[in-house]
């Protein structure tokens, strides 16, 4: 059968300034999509725009800044507010492939971003703001189950603690790296997150990809995930970790499993995931041993038993309509931490239609869950990690004020090491060497550099968080946690304000 | 301690640098019958062709000897060596005492038995002065016969041809540049030279040079040469460039042992204590042949010089032995050959590849998993890596298949070997 002629116009324009281009072919070598072609006879570089994904690798690496890559300058004339260019292209693509459209990263649909509809408070006159450059400013956070009260024996030599505290994770800053599996990203990326976590006193999360033996040395900063595929799960995996996370759902694809194509399953990955080389790694939509809350409870306690109750167990769910009730059930089922992943959370690969249409924003889910747990008087019993598209330190501060103990960041972390959110992760050809296993491309992440960039990001955000805390006259993060009086809403409906549990600005 | 070095070419330079690295102030005297500071003999053809300036001919420049605090006695010939009383006698009756002496007198051109020599425009091609003579006598020269199809013969030939002189090379052997090359490589080069208009006659030699009558006014001029085969070739210049033999005049009649060259041990010392020899004058260990040979090549001379220097200065340093290697470039065609590239014995594995259109020739010789020699024509960029494999005696068994790749280099090494080379260099 003859190849279908594609009607899809290119997404991007590649402009090459002839006065600047020295035909050094750096772009040719950097483009893993072969959008740049070297013409030997002419000693010139040409472009095939239809192949360009707009990742900007070439523009960044071009030594003479001869390149500009931007959205195609002849947008589809037919496009309108309803039939956008994007929608038209999707239809064409499916007409030509007849398949499910895949995509990567978080949804780019213009759902309201509530972070940008909340503003923070600051001290004036009646109480002093605190200068973090001169005064101590504490971000240390402990994640894990807390008792409602402590019991002491009061002896002559002072009180002695009777209560035994459940295992806790100690964070020097309330930010963790969210689950990204080895397989979705390269080993170097994992190593970088592990090293950065160690340096910053926080944690990274293996996702469902298992933990490479070389990274066991970072176990104290590692949260290992137990997902529906159970990839890479064995005793040593659980033993080496600081905490365990049962993955129920992911914000980018609630209700959907995972699928790592066989070509990404290299020798090392097969070792780590404990599956044969080259076989597709398919994680089922549900855990087939969890069809109910009591099943979840059994798994939670199975894991606690397996690790002698020495590690907190986290349960990660996607933010969906009745997250609050689900969360309450999860806490009562014995989870020490719940992670809630909002609709803007990222993914290495998901059906576009799922990513863009399933789930709810983290802001609303977080507010609802925190309030529900307080109403039920069980908020102490579990820590809350909010996830799903955190972009900056203000998002983090607002999440903590809404009630989160800490936040998971993943997209921001990847952006820090080069990701340009081109959404092509699922192709495995990431020109930035992040979501790929291609031996040539993985070298593009040098863990020394990436670790530095990640540590810098955490440091920068932490400094900003301290500034914001100081402004509010607070010098310990726990006094912000759930302190919604420091938030005010702007341009929100009464219902939204009500769900977020905040007042409109001016009140 | 007094050092005397006889001869002032590359072996001498190697010796001076080595001596001074260990002994900063003992007097060093250098005697040379040539009036110049050490210059590059191999470059004389390029000098003739005008590729390189007078000043750039000097290896180290004038100031080198002063910097090294060395007394130079140039333009004087050492004519006697009194090994008993440790005295070197010069052709001006001058006498030099030494505690240790280095004989680095190099080679002298080999002149075949010829009739009709002693005419103008019959020149050898070994020293800078030779080249200068050729240069000075060029006007009016249309056609030259070069006797000898060896390295210097070909160099002279190319230089002359580039200067617009028609050149005929006469070589006794059945091909040019034997034994430096194998037949194939010789052929390829021969083709190339012919393309440029150089005529090559093999398996023949000049027997007689005939010329004009000589008069008081001027010496007889060359008119033609007659070959053994009877062939007669008219020409107005003859270059005798058959090659050099070790210059051993000085050791004649002394108790210093010699064969085809002066014999030395692995410290470059002769059989007589405190008398060392280095460079083309010696006959020394070749670790590929496992015997001692005369191998008149420049890098070897430098190395022997510095080994000799170190040992003279009291530093025990063994000479690892060398092997034959040549890098030739004629008319932009690079050719390299090293080691046993054409073994006569059995038991060698020989890999060859020939790409006529690109004129790429690659020949490797292996034995028991070790590289023993090679010839490469054309893509020589990474040939040094092969030389390294021979020199460092690295077993190539497990990456043999890569060896024949044109771009074979460090990238084709097994990782551990490459790391060892790159990370520890």
């Amino acid at each position: 059968m003859a190849k279908v002629k594609s009607y899809i116009p290119s997404d991007f324009n590649i402009e090459r300034d002839p006065d600047k281009c020295i035909a050094c072919q750096v772009c040719v070598r950097q483009c893993s999509y072969e959008a740049h072609i070297y013409d030997t006879e002419e000693d010139a570089v040409n472009a095939d725009e239809s192949k360009c994904i707009g990742c900007q690798r070439c523009t960044v690496f071009c030594p003479t800044e001869a390149l500009t890559v931007g959205p195609t300058s002849n947008p589809n004339q037919k496009a309108n507010v309803h039939w956008t260019e994007k929608e038209i292209k999707r239809v064409l693509k499916q007409a030509e492939t007849g398949g499910v459209l895949l995509t990567g990263m978080g949804t780019d649909k213009p759902y309201p971003i509530y972070w940008d509809h909340m503003v923070l408070n600051a001290s004036q006159v009646t109480n002093p703001s605190i200068d973090p450059l001169r005064e101590p400013m504490e971000l240390r956070t402990y994640l894990g189950r807390k008792p409602d009260m402590l019991q002491f024996k009061f002896k002559d030599d002072g009180p002695s603690l009777e209560t035994i505290l459940a295992p806790q994770l100690k964070l020097e800053t309330p930010i963790l790296f969210s689950a990204i599996s080895y397989g979705a990203v390269s080993y170097n990326v994992c190593e970088s997150m592990a090293k950065a976590s160690k340096a910053a006193g926080t944690f990274w999360n293996t996702g469902e990809g298992g933990l490479h033996k070389n990274l066991y040395q970072y176990g104290n900063n590692t949260i290992v995930q137990v997902a529906s595929g159970r990839f890479g799960v064995d005793k040593s995996y659980l033993d080496v970790a600081a905490a365990l996370e049962i993955k129920i759902g992911q914000g980018a694809k609630p209700g959907i499993g995972g699928h790592l194509p066989g070509e990404k399953v290299t020798e090392a990955i097969s070792q780590t995931r404990m599956i044969p080389v080259g076989t597709d790694a398919i994680s089922p939509a549900p855990h087939h041993d969890i069809y109910s809350i009591e099943d979840l409870s059994q798994l939670i306690y199975a894991l606690k038993e397996a690790t002698n109750y020495t590690k907190p167990v986290c349960v990660k769910i996607a933010a969906v309509h009745n997250s609050a009730a689900i969360a309450s059930g999860i806490v009562r089922a014995g989870a020490d931490i719940i992670a809630i992943d909002g609709i803007r959370g990222g993914t290495g690969a998901a059906p576009t239609v799922i990513r863009d249409n399933v789930g709810i924003p983290i802001e609303l889910a977080l507010a609802a869950v925190d309030q529900r747990l307080r109403d039920e008087g069980i908020r102490n019993q579990a820590s809350i990690i909010a996830a799903g598209g955190f972009r900056n330190s203000a998002d983090v501060v607002k999440a903590i004020a809404l009630g989160a103990d800490a936040v998971y960041i993943a997209t921001a972390a990847l952006v820090a090491i080069g990701c340009t959110v081109c959404q092509k992760c699922y192709t495995g050809k990431c020109p930035w060497g992040i979501t790929t296993q291609h031996p040539q491309l993985i070298k593009r992440i040098n863990p020394d550099i990436a670790t530095e960039r990640l540590t810098n990001l955490l440091r920068g955000w932490s400094l900003e968080i301290k500034e914001m805390l100081g402004g509010m006259g607070i010098n310990a993060i726990e006094s912000l946690r759930g302190n919604r009086l420091h938030l005010r809403g702007i341009g929100l409906t009464d219902t939204e304000l009500d769900i977020l549990g905040i007042l409109p600005a001016g009140r | 301690m007094e050092y005397v070095i006889i001869g002032n070419s590359v072996a001498c330079l190697g010796a001076i640098e080595a001596l001074r690295s260990k002994d900063k102030d003992s007097p060093i005297k250098v005697v040379s019958d040539e009036p110049y500071p050490a210059y590059s003999r191999p470059a004389i053809a390029h000098y003739l062709a005008g590729d390189i300036s007078e000043k750039d001919m000097l290896c180290k420049g004038e100031e080198f000897y002063k910097k090294m605090n060395v007394e130079t006695i140039f333009g004087r010939k050492a004519i006697r060596l009194d090994t008993k009383n440790k005295i070197v006698t010069l052709n001006n009756k001058g006498k030099l005492h030494y505690d240790k002496v280095l004989i680095a007198t190099g080679g002298t051109p080999f002149i075949p038995p010829l009739k009709g020599t002693g005419k103008a425009h019959i020149l050898t091609f070994t020293t800078w002065d030779d080249a200068k003579k050729v240069k000075d006598n060029l006007d009016g020269v249309k056609k030259a016969v070069v006797i000898g199809g060896g390295l210097i013969g070909l160099c002279a030939a190319e230089a002359l041809e580039r200067l617009g002189v028609a050149v005929i090379i006469v070589e006794l052997a059945d091909r040019i540049l034997s034994p430096a090359l194998d037949e194939k490589a010789s052929k390829i080069l021969e083709e190339r030279l012919k393309e440029e208009g150089i005529k090559i006659i093999t398996q023949d030699t000049v027997t007689t040079i005939t010329g004009s009558k000589s008069s008081k006014a001027c010496k007889a001029k060359v008119k033609s040469v007659t070959l053994k085969s009877g062939k007669k070739i008219s020409c107005d210049m003859v270059i005798i460039a058959i090659g050099v033999k070790p210059n051993m005049e000085l050791v004649k009649g002394t108790d210093i042992k010699s064969d085809r060259g002066i014999l030395v041990d692995d410290t470059m010392q002769t059989n007589v204590k405190d008398i060392y020899a280095a460079g083309d004058v010696t006959q020394s260990y070749d670790f590929l042949y496992g015997t001692s040979r005369v191998t008149p090549i420049w890098p070897r001379a430098y190395m022997q010089g510095s080994i000799a220097g170190l040992n003279m200065a009291g530093e025990r340093q063994r000479y690892p032995g060398s092997f034959d290697m040549n890098s030739l470039v004629f008319y932009d065609m690079p050719i390299m050959s090293a080691g046993l590239h054409t073994p006569r014995e059995e038991g060698f594995e020989i890999l060859t590849k020939w790409e006529p259109e690109e004129k790429l020739y690659r020949k490797l010789v292996l034995k028991d998993g070790f590289l023993k020699g090679f010839i490469i024509v054309g893509k020589i960029e990474d040939a040094g890596v092969l030389t390294g494999l021979i020199k460092e005696k690295i077993n190539v068994e497990n990456f043999k298949e890569n060896l024949m790749e044109e771009d074979f280099g460090l990238a084709s090494f097994p990782k551990e070997l490459r790391d060892k080379k790159l990370k520890e260099s």
């Binding site: 001290s123 009646t126 109480n127 002093p128 605190i130 005064e135 101590p136 504490e138 240390r140 402990y142 807390k146 008792p147 409602d148 009260m149 402590l150 019991q151 002491f152 009061f154 002072g158 009180p159 002695s160 603690l161 209560t163 505290l165 806790q168 309030q371 307080r374 008087g377 908020r379 102490n380 509010m472 006259g473 607070i474 010098n475 310990a476 726990e478 006094s479 912000l480 946690r481 759930g482 302190n483 919604r484 009086l485 420091h486 009500d498 549990g501 905040i502 007042l503 009140r507 | -």
Partner: protein, 363 residues
Amino acid sequence: MRLKSFEKDISGCSLTGFIHQDGRRVTGEDIMKSIACMHDRSNGLGGGFAAYGIYPDFKDHYALHLLYDSMKSKEETEHYLNQNFLIDMEEKIPTRKTPAIKNPPILWRYFLNPKRETREEAGLSDDDFVVNAVMKINSEMDGAFVMSSGKNMGAFKAVGFPEEVGEFYRLEEYKAWTWIAHGRFPTNTPGWWGGAHPFTLLDRAIVHNGEISSYGINKRYLEMFGYKCTLMTDTEVMAYLFDLLLRRHKLSIPLACKILAAPFWTDIERMEPREQELMRVLRIVYGSGLANGPFAILLGHSNGLVGLNDRVKLRPLVVARKNETVYMSSEESGIREICPELDEVWAPKAGEPVIAELKNKNI
């Protein structure tokens, strides 16, 4: 939390107090002098006192000081009280007419104990039963407010300058071993009588100078334990925090203070292992109880007096001792005014509680 609107009572203040550790009881004159001398730290929008040991004849009864807006609210409340308590004595709280104190509410005091059967039905201790009643009255009974509910103690508060309030309540006629006083400087709506300090629950009375930036989370934390913070004041939150920690969680006063004014992690790391672990766990579990922001408080209770500053000491507090008496005040002047010659005077460190107790706990 479902907030319709939020106007938190922000105020600066003066506070003072003393305890005769030997149990010697003195009239209200000293305390009035002391607070009066810091007149300009308050603005006439509220003043109040708490006194311990004033009702020796009823020391086994809960003494409820109530203020009513109307007879209607009084009847309603008394109906509720009669249902749940045995009232052995009740009377109007004696006051004197002063020009400064305008249209006072109905002020009434009751000496009572819970009815055994009702209490047992509820399955509560006496204290819990009383606390519930206080919560109910303050949040549900329109126009009724409980000023104090402890045994052998009482709170006296009003809108006005503290010295006027003292004169109004004829404090020179009461004798107590512990007196605390407060002069208020609200920066928002004119204070109302209930909004004046001290805030009390059972025998604990708190006077407070400061603003708690952690109010939002302290409040939500308390709400998880059933407290209703209706008054929108930091002081109320402080009072309830102490109630939760001391009465319900049975922590000691020093521990409670380490929760409200938690030491910094860097300081904790410098402590010896056992204390270190103790403080670490305390912060981990009671983080939401940390009162973050500037404050100085005096906490009066049956057995003593406690002074505490926030963890970075952003509000003044001076402590002094003379023989058996310990003085605590916003300003040293407030102390020198009533006791010029002192054995020692010092300013307590940030977050370091000053705890003075009666020598003989069962007077």
